[in-house]
């Protein structure tokens, strides 16, 4: 086993210890994104691909910076980051910029940020720290559960107000995933499943906006509205299906060229992969993702303390959920909820947050042997 790395260890030695395989895989996925955005924009370098590449380079720097920072720092910042993200979410509600009818952006003059993206990281940090600090016997107790529930529900409620159903579900699933990983006992899991079964219809009726309800209903019955909400799904399936086994060839997708699939630079970018590279290309892309995820899980198991483990696993869960929801949506298995395909879809904040997330994973792994004292509750 390696020696613990102190924060004073030589930069070069420390850089050497970074898991470069993960870095390489992440950058590779990002480059797939550059290529596909290039195709989706009819080969116009400047209408997406170029920005994506630049963001990738900038975010890679950020990722390494985060990785090199001692995980103690992230542990210490976990709660402040969470409360900061909460404040940003409230700010967005009060003075946010509206894009396409959803208020998700905060204009900071210099840059526009999407607090819900920040929250995706913050919630994992906060919950990892929460369970790191929580005595084992309280994990399944009401007091322990209540703390975790508050951590999850506050940001959920704020994000749902924006309205952003995709992110809300993502936060919920990530939070529940971490609770599950933390070892909550099966009786609680059973009870929660029952409560969820009762709450879901109520949430559907009262918690959702009209268009969100309609998207879900359309998903359940696509013939409801062939040119409206289900148009996305239908055209997306046509694009994938017509790609066949080996695809129509790079830059040859007709569905794409003729703009049948909307948003194909962002949320529906997988249709471009499916149409132009067929099943082969689709499975290769998914395979790449599986490699990234598996590697992260493998890295988590080498971490000594709970915070690092849950941090890595929580972030990996978020990343995986992104992929599941996006691919499910594109293939017509899930409703259209505006979740991007991480690292491949065009979109600045997502690249930044996902890469920062990988930075945290790398940091947790890099400092896996370090002592991390627990705060008293």
């Amino acid at each position: 086993m390696m020696n613990p790395l102190s924060s004073s260890a030589g930069i070069t030695a420390k850089l050497y210890e970074v898991n470069w395989l993960l870095v390489a895989l992440v950058v590779l996925v990002g480059l797939v994104g550059v290529l596909m955005i290039f195709a989706a924009t009819d080969g116009v370098w400047s209408s997406g691909a170029q920005q994506h590449l630049i963001r990738l380079i900038v975010a890679s720097g950020l990722m390494l910076g985060v990785a090199m920072t001692d995980v103690k720092v992230w542990y210490a910042l976990a709660y402040p980051a969470y409360f900061g993200a909460l404040v940003l979410l409230i700010a967005v509600d009060v003075m946010g910029v509206s894009v396409n009818g959803s208020q998700r952006w905060l204009d900071l003059q210099v840059m526009r940020i999407q607090p819900s993206e920040v929250m995706k990281l913050a919630i994992v940090l906060a919950m990892a720290r929460y369970y790191h600090d929580l005595p084992n016997w309280r994990v399944s107790r009401l007091s322990g559960l209540l703390g975790a529930a508050i951590l999850i529900l506050l940001p959920m409620a704020l994000v749902l107000r924006q309205p952003d159903l995709g992110t809300t579900l993502l936060l919920a699933a990530t939070g529940v995933g971490i609770i599950f990983l933390a070892g909550v006992n099966w009786r609680v899991i059973g009870g929660a499943a029952l409560a969820g079964a009762i709450a879901l219809p109520l949430f559907f009726r009262f918690g959702l906006k009209e268009y969100q309800r309609s998207r879900i209903l359309t998903f359940l019955d696509p013939s409801r509205d062939p040119t409206g909400a289900s148009y996305h799904i239908t055209q997306s399936k046509i694009a994938l299906g017509s790609g066949g086994f080996s695809g129509k060839g790079f830059m040859n997708g007709t569905q794409r060229q003729l703009a049948y699939v909307p948003e194909n630079r962002t949320d529906f970018i997988f249709t471009v992969i499916g149409e132009e590279f067929g099943l082969l290309g689709s499975l290769l892309t998914i395979g790449l993702y599986i490699l990234v995820i598996s590697l992260c899980v493998w890295l988590s198991m080498q971490c000594k303390h709970v915070f690092s483990r849950l941090l890595v696993l929580g972030l990996t869960t978020t990343f995986t959920l992104y992929i599941f929801i996006n691919l499910g949506m594109v293939m017509g298995l899930a409703p259209v909820v505006g979740v991007p395909l991480p690292l491949i879809s065009y979109g600045g904040t997502v690249v930044l947050t996902v890469m920062t997330g990988f930075g945290l994973i790398l940091s947790a792994h890099l400092h896996r042997q370090n002592e991390l004292p627990r705060s008293q509750f």
């Binding site: 005595p135 933390a182 046509i238």
Partner: protein, 620 residues
């Protein structure tokens, strides 16, 4: 640290991680099999759907055939027409889109209602006409804004155009959109295209199938907004242009006739006495048929409907007028054929004839004195014909009237041809339920009373007399299959007698239509007959004091001015029937028009090449 103080132990986290990992692997499995299903199992179906998306068949409309006169002058052509259509299925919000269009192309409520109705009545993929006949400025403004208006498509199409405006409006008719009834009768898919036009009236309607052509289809590649990004034309699928239709008319002669009418209303027909081809078929005043193509405004409609000269009424084919004295040839021929009348025998005209307690008048104050048959016609003496008609009776007159073409609606290929009325006792019994009286015969003998004829019938009557052997039948469409002309079945000597009498009307001093210089063409004489159609009863008091002069009467009460004639007298070529509504005495307005038209017709005769050469044997 006690066991209780510890956080979740690593073993639990590892176990749970593996559980989640297994779940995740399962979901990836589902996604992969879904991909396999979409991209391998169903690949073919989706490939077809993708091509369906991509390719569309657009119905391509043919150019409508032209309509031309006998010399090839264009009477109806196609002109470039800028218009805008909308494909509802490609429009997200129809109302919002219409509102945005109306910022560029003004749309009134009537048009909006029509557009909304069209959208309801058609499948969502059928292009709906928003507006046509746009000017270039509007059209380019529209094209400029088109990226913001998905589903709205500016088109350059063809619109019908009548270069002579109204001159041939009654004969040509006009085109318009197919209404639901047309669509029901005819399942040609072109009719369902909102931009397609079919013939509504006249030749446009009668020869519609010939003019229409047949639809083609055009394979087009469209993007998600329905915008055509590429066309894949296949020559085999091209639309077939409509065939041109040739008319027997002489546009120049018709134009001349219209000029002669000036502001007056009425009808004029010029017929070839050998073939029955109509050289002129004019109804005055005219209306601009182009207005009907572009959509008549309410103001235009009101103006047309409120005009007392009824521009839309096809007077030459549909207008029934008392033939007045032009009917006297019929009585003459009936008398000669009956053998009951000696044409040399004289009748003494004192302007009055008593029948029971009624007195019938001759038009000439003081009477004509002694008149034989020839003089009776030359001077148009009513008393002579009263006496003659009393002897031979109405049946014989009606029989001769029918031989000369009265009471018949000719099939000249277009609708609107009316039969007029050739009354006889049986007709009156059937129609009015009471018996024929001698007074009816006397009225009929001078072409008044129940007798009604159209200007076309007057021309045919004159043409049959001029021809003398065949019962001439008018025709309008070149290439139409014409039946063999029937024999006229009148003694040629009797015909010659009447022809001579008609010559005397025009060419002998004292004739009611005599002019010293005749037709104005040396060596060519004209034969004819005047008629003054009464439209009012003349009271006894008025007759006793003084007949009001033409100019003193309101327009509506003035006499119709009527003339029939043919020329040249020796070798007849053309016959003319002319009615000038409320134009006064037949010897003035109508006679001068006919004289001029006949002169021009003879001048133009043979100027153009043979009709057969021009049409290349095209048939209808």
């Amino acid at each position: 640290m006690s066991e209780h103080d510890q956080g979740p132990d690593e073993g639990v986290i590892t176990r749970r991680t593996l559980m989640l990992g297994a779940g995740g692997a399962g979901i990836f499995g589902v996604l992969a099999s879904r991909l396999y299903y979409l991209q391998v199992v169903k690949a073919e179906d989706y490939r077809v759907l993708s091509d369906d998306n991509r390719f569309n068949f657009k119905i391509s409309l043919p150019s409508r055939g032209r309509i031309m006169d006998r010399f090839g002058e264009n009477l109806a052509v196609n002109k470039q027409d800028y218009r805008v259509v909308m494909i509802p299925e490609q429009v997200k919000d129809v109302e919002a889109t219409l509102k945005r269009i109306s910022n560029i192309v003004p749309l009134n409520t009537k048009m909006l209602d029509r557009i909304r109705k069209d959208i309801r009545d058609h499948a969502r993929f059928v292009p709906i006409l928003i507006d046509d006949h746009l000017d270039w400025k509007t059209f380019s403004a529209l094209n400029f804004n088109i990226p913001d208006l998905p589903g709205v498509i500016p088109q350059v199409g063809e619109g019908r155009f009548y270069p002579n405006k109204g001159l041939f409006a009654h004969t040509l008719g006009y085109v318009g959109r197919a209404n639901p009834k047309d669509v029901e009768k005819d399942n040609d898919p072109m009719l369902r295209q909102p931009t397609f036009r079919i013939g509504k009236t006249g030749v446009e309607a009668a020869a519609d199938k010939t003019l229409r052509g047949s639809a083609g289809k055009l394979k087009v590649e469209v993007n998600a907004l329905g915008r055509i990004v590429r066309e894949w034309p296949d020559p085999n699928d091209a639309a077939i242009k409509g065939k041109d239709v040739w008319l027997t008319l002489d546009a120049e002669l018709q134009r001349y006739g219209a000029e002669l009418f000036e502001e007056d209303s009425g009808g004029l027909a010029v017929i070839d006495v050998m073939t029955g081809e109509l050289r002129t078929l004019l109804s005055m005043p005219t209306f601009d048929a182009n207005l009907f193509v572009s959509g008549l405004t309410q103001a235009d409609m009101n103006r047309l409907n409120n005009d007392e000269k009824r521009p839309q009424y096809n007077k030459v084919l549909s207008g029934g007028y008392p033939p007045a004295s032009t009917f006297k040839m019929t009585v003459m021929l009936a008398a000669l054929e009956s053998g009951l009348i000696d044409p040399k025998k004289k009748v003494f005209c004192t302007q009055k004839l008593r029948l029971g307690n009624r007195i019938f008048h001759c038009w000439k104050r003081g009477g004509h004195g002694a008149m034989d048959m020839r003089d009776g016609l030359k001077n148009s003496c009513d008393i002579y014909f009263y006496e003659t008609a009393q002897i031979i009776g109405m049946e014989k007159i009606a029989e001769m009237g029918r031989k000369l073409g009265f009471g018949t609606a000719y099939d000249i290929g277009i609708s609107g041809v009316k039969p007029g009325i050739m009354p006889d006792p049986a007709w009156k019994q059937a129609r009015l339920g009471n018996g024929w009286r001698m007074g009816d015969t006397l009225n009929a003998s001078i072409g008044q009373g129940f007798v009604l004829a159209t200007p076309l019938q007057l021309a045919v009557m004159a043409g049959r007399i001029a021809n003398g052997q065949k019962a001439l039948v008018p025709n309008l469409l070149v290439g139409q299959d014409l039946p063999e002309l029937a024999d006229l079945d009148i003694d040629p000597e009797h015909i010659a007698f009447v022809q001579d009498a008609m010559w005397s009307v025009c060419e002998e001093p004292g004739g009611t239509a005599y002019r010293a210089n005749g037709l104005g063409i040396k060596g060519l004489d004209m034969a004819g007959k005047t008629g003054t159609g009464q439209v009012r009863g003349i009271s006894t008091s008025e007759r006793q004091s003084r007949l009001r002069k033409h100019e003193e009467l309101p327009w509506k009460l003035r006499d119709h001015s009527i003339f029939v004639g043919y020329a040249p007298y020796n070798a007849p070529r053309f016959a003319v029937g002319c009615v000038v509504e409320h134009g006064g005495s037949g010897s003035k307005r109508a006679a001068s028009i006919v004289r001029a038209v006949l002169g021009r017709a003879l001048e133009r005769d043979g100027l153009g090449p043979e009709t057969e050469l021009k049409t290349n044997g095209a048939t209808l």
